[in-house]
């Protein structure tokens, strides 16, 4: 078991190395980006060509690409000294770069934005898991019933309505809608949990619902399909033949069999979403990772884009390792083989 996980971790490290190379390469090797352009993207100021060339030299953009990569990679572990020709800043380890536009280290920006995204995603995950799985199980248990058909329609809506549309409706209704619905007349703003847990939850609730509705729809359909398949398995017939109550057959024997696949799905989704929920965060103006990445892109702040991309990739790799470990815990057959 421990061997198995160690094995997976080693593999994950390899993947991370590849991810860092690819992330670096994509942004360095973009066609039509000259060395001078690189300097421009890096500093982001209105520099003259001569100044930019000087910056390019300082930053080593004229160095071979592998040297540049190595400087960047080692900076993550040891920190770097960075200067734009006027002043020098120290970017402490783990240094993912320095945003000269905002004059802050990218790491610091990530650390600040992550709790916002985590608040959104984890809260929504509770809602979509509870709602989606429960609906899916009930729909499968009462296949063909009004509930089943209703949930199919609603989840179809959930999957097909984009969140920027439903999100805008929610924002409009809650902040500027009819009086009885205008619960957030002061606007929906992110409040850190440590400042005021109640207002944290209250302000996040619409965001959670907006995000969860979309994802729960996927989980409902997934769980329903998996449950229907499970309910035709032989061990379900055995459970019924033992004289177990229907709800034990469905809720214990049936549900237990689909848990590993739901956990897998949830783990991978969490990994992907924790890296930033660009649309929802931008819509609600919550300063999370998605918003950070979005702003980075619109202002051409290259260090920020690279930092958020790498961080999101790391989260996905970590999620994969965690999912593997969960699977080994949840499925005794995997546990014993490994």
């Amino acid at each position: 078991m421990i061997r198995h996980i160690a094995h997976r971790l080693l593999g994950a490290l390899g993947v991370l190395l590849v991810v860092s190379v690819v992330t670096f390469a994509i942004f360095q090797l973009l066609p039509r980006v000259t060395k001078v352009d690189m300097a421009f993207y890096y500093t982001g100021r209105n520099t003259s060509a001569a100044q930019a060339a000087a910056v390019a030299e300082r930053f080593g953009f004229d160095q071979p690409i592998w040297t540049q990569y190595w400087t960047w990679l080692s900076g993550i572990f040891t920190g770097r000294e960075l200067g734009d020709g006027v002043s020098t800043v120290h970017c402490a380890a783990p240094c993912l770069g320095w945003s000269f536009r905002q004059n802050r280290s990218v790491t610091e920006m990530l650390v600040q934005a992550f709790p916002v995204t985590a608040s959104i995603v984890l809260g929504a995950a509770v809602l979509w898991l509870a709602g989606g799985v429960a609906t899916g199980v009930l729909a499968a248990a009462r296949r063909g019933s009004l509930f089943d058909r209703g949930s199919t329609v609603i989840s179809l809506l959930g999957v097909s309505i984009p969140e920027f549309f439903s999100g805008m409706l929610v924002i409009y209704a809650l902040t500027a809608g009819p009086g009885w619905l205008r619960w957030y007349s002061g606007g929906i703003n992110y409040v850190p949990f440590t400042d005021d847990p109640l207002r944290w939850a209250a302000n996040l609730l619409p965001v959670w619902i907006c995000l969860a509705f979309l994802i729960a729809a996927v989980y409902t359909r997934w769980t329903r399909a998996a449950m229907l398949e499970t309910m035709s398995e032989d061990f379900i017939t055995t459970a019924t033949a033992k004289g177990l109550r229907r709800r034990t057959v469905v809720g214990r024997h049936g549900l237990r069999a689909v848990v590993p696949s739901v956990v897998t799905l949830a783990g991978l989704d969490l990994g992907a979403l924790l890296g930033g929920v660009i649309i929802v965060e931008s819509l609600f103006s919550f300063p999370g990772l998605g918003r950070l990445a979005y702003d980075g892109i619109t202002t051409k702040d290259l260090p920020v884009i690279m930092g958020t991309t790498l961080f999101a990739a790391v989260l996905i790799v970590v999620a994969n390792v965690v999912v593997d470990a969960c699977y080994a815990i949840l499925d005794p057959r995997v546990r014993h083989v490994s």
Binding site: K242, G243, H253, A257, P332
Partner: protein, 343 residues
Amino acid sequence: MSAESPEALLRVRDLRVHFPTPDGLVRSVDGLSFDVRPGEILGVVGESGSGKSMAGKAILGLHEQARTTGEIWYGDQQLVGAADEELRRLRGAKIAMIFQDPLSSLHPYFTIGAQLSEAYRVHRRTGAKAARARAVEMLSRVGIPAAARAYGAYPHEFSGGMRQRAMIAMALICDPGLLIADEPTTALDVTVQAQILQLIRDLSEESGSAVVLITHDLGVVAETCDRVVVMYAGRCIEQAPVAGLFERPMTPYTWGLLGSIPRLDATLGRLEPITGQPPSLIDLPAGCSFAPRCGFASRVPDHRCTTELPEPLVAGAPDHLARCHLPVEDRQHIWHTQIAPAL
């Protein structure tokens, strides 16, 4: 099909299990009647599509999509159309069932012990400790070594034979009066099959439980059962005590089955298989369902075989019933002069 036997444990009368499908109504079981007497091992034998497994599941009401009609009496309780809760209390407690593939029939994520205890606790209101003790007792009764350790094992850690033993332990944990064993040894090796059949026989004798053993293998029937029901196309075509069936089988279908089986104790030149295919269950032939494949149907005058369903009638011995239009004497003659010598 049998004469009224008031002492029967289970009485099945004119059972029909029909499945509506887009192609038409599939008549998996179509007018099946038989009795199970207390303590006996009744073999239900037939080829695939004969309805033997469908009938077994119908007894416990395990078909969700089927239209089941007819009568199934367990004591004075009628099971066809019984309320869900009434059936549930019966399942596992009075009538238990085991299946062909013990690996897929056990939940892969629960331990053997948890699955056994659960079966006990649902019918007996006992604590976890008592259920555990009972489960360990049952595991050792079915011959699983180190039962206390086996309690915590998962199904995949067992061999096929051990899994089927665990299934049997789980089925018998509440001392049911009837065990329905649906092809319990088909997925097992022949040496393990012999062990499991022996175990079923021993346990039935020990506890007095009756067993309905559903199988495709006439050899298994001969070595395990007391009486046998031969099914063809959803009906019982012949039923008799085991010795009677193998000494003087009274239907051309049973002759055909016996003639199809290669022998371990003799080298046969050529097998005498039944020709053709079993009928479609959507479009059953009028008259005797075996008539289209029967080599003797032409001997019966007036095309009765293809127009009129033969009733189950006593043939040869009082306990021996067969559906066939051929006169009994003719059948005895054919068996002794044509069929038996070739086997």
